[in-house]
Amino acid sequence: MMVWMEYLIGAEYLIGAVLSVVVGGLIGMRGFPESKRSFQPSALFPTPVICLGALVMIKMIVGINIYISVVVGVLTPLLIKSHLNKLCPVVE
């Protein structure tokens, strides 16, 4: 019973992660990373990771529900595409 409850609580995270990958693909991010040394963000990495971390932080502050998951899942890939490489500059 407890295990199933944990999975149910994780549904919000699942929706956010899947949505961030889908939106990342739709806005033209590369699906997979180019190589092991590529700094260019892609839909599968690090978009869902940052989305999940953001959801945990939001849960700590105000709590989460499905609507918040959808908003974060849509906003994360947009912010990553436009701001990640400015926030963490690529070092050659």
Binding site: V3, E6, G10, Y13, P33, K36, R37, S38, F39, F45, P46, V49, I50, L52, G53, A54, L55, V56, M57, K59, C88, V91
Partner: protein, 164 residues
């Protein structure tokens, strides 16, 4: 208690070495100049250059070993797997600050979170994994650089990450 820590140490060791070698490709090239200097110092000491690259990369940026330790600590602090997710984000930004693309560290954090979640159903606590990871990293970075670099180099060769 002791046997749980030993089992957790073995699990952590396998997890971080596999992720670092296969996903991060740490024994292939030094990610930053500091890792190169460490690798050459280890080779001069009689060790293996590729194992030295991996040990240098472990020192110079948060790789899967740091990810494993942070995932265990955050899982312990949060009391649930959500801590591991937050740790993955923190490790990713830590990697980017250290001029590392972050594949090894972030993947290692997520795999550790999954492993702790699975092992928690068999009576293991995240605290066992914190202690286990400290023991695991001591075997690589703390006991004997010459032999640990040779072990890492031969493991990377057997897994096909490096040639020769």
């Amino acid at each position: 208690m002791i046997e749980k820590i030993v089992v957790a140490a073995v699990v952590c060791w396998i997890n971080f070495v596999m992720v670092d070698v296969l996903i991060g490709g740490l024994p292939e090239v030094p990610g930053v100049r500091g890792a190169k200097h460490i690798a050459h110092a280890i080779r001069n000491y009689g060790g293996n250059l590729n194992g030295g690259y991996m040990m240098g990369n472990i020192v110079c940026s948060p790789d899967a070993s740091a990810g494993t330790l942070l995932a265990s600590s955050c899982y312990y602090a949060f009391g649930s797997w959500e801590g591991g997710l937050l740790a993955a984000t923190v490790v990713y930004f830590g990697n980017r600050i250290c001029a590392d693309p972050g594949y090894a560290g972030t993947t290692g954090t997520l795999t550790t979170t999954a492993l702790i979640f699975i092992f928690s159903h068999f009576g293991f606590s995240p605290a066992n994994f914190v202690a286990g990871m400290v023991l695991a990293i001591v075997t690589i970075q703390g006991l004997h650089h010459k032999y640990s670099s040779k072990i890492l180099g031969s493991l990377a060769r057997k897994m096909g990450t490096i040639e020769g």
